[in-house]
Amino acid sequence: MVRNAPILAALLLCGCIVFPDRALDSSGHKRGYISEQDRAQLAPGRATREDVLCTVGAPDYGFDDGRRLVYWIHERRWSWIFYIVLDGAGGEFGVDHYHVFDFDAQGLLVGRRDCSESYEGESNRSPAHVERATRPAAAHALPNLGGATSRAPGS
């Protein structure tokens, strides 16, 4: 037993813990949570950019001179901690959801899309990345997606 003590101690001081972590996300990046009632009101062909902005507020990202507005939900699902004695590292797994509104040159809403991509470690929130991730039918061309999807609302 005494001979195994260093090994036991080492096992106690080193390890990896993975735990569900959704409720601990206090980042505030939740603008993509749009109610069903609001979604129904913001119908393509009827609603305008003004209607969208007044209903769900300013977007997280705007592209193409305001013709594409993106509302983002940063959903962390799991976190992990790896520790060795008094040092360690941590990370997270989650999904970035994007609700995209597309407008024509006159500001009329012409389409809505939901895109999502899973991430490991850290979410990539750079505008350039989000621009690529929310291009129409561009989700499959993204690098390191690991589960990217793109679908029309209600499908």
Binding site: G28, E50, C54, T55, G62, E75, S126
Partner: protein
């Protein structure tokens, strides 16, 4: 034997809480700090004077948005590369004469 039960209950509660909850943006009433902001009355000049430059504008400035704290005050400016963070989003639509014709405050988290 009560301590293990309490510990188990605590662990279960933490796990249940960690399952998360959804949140939906919704329009809210203007706080007292923004009572001066009225549709058909407030001008663009007054809005820009009291609120400062908007965080974003659309359609050539016809629609302006400000990111606000819950009490209606301006928070610290965000980095251009970062997404929106503020708990309130104020949207004001101006007509050609510069009067506010539509005001909306959305609670974003």
């Amino acid at each position: 034997m009560r301590r293990p039960r309490r510990a188990s209950a605590l662990v279960l509660a933490l796990l249940a809480g960690s399952c998360g909850s959804t949140y939906e943006m919704r329009r809210v009433a203007l706080p007292a700090r923004l009572e001066w902001l009225r549709e058909g009355v407030t001008t663009r000049d007054l809005a820009f004077t009291l609120l400062g430059e908007p965080d974003a504008s659309f359609e050539g400035g016809r629609i302006a948005t400000w990111e606000l704290e819950a009490d209606g005050s301006r928070g610290p400016a965000r980095e251009a590369s970062e997404p929106q963070w503020a708990p309130r989003s104020l949207v004001v639509v101006f007509d050609a004469g510069g009067s506010a014709v539509r005001v909306s405050l959305v609670q974003t988290w």
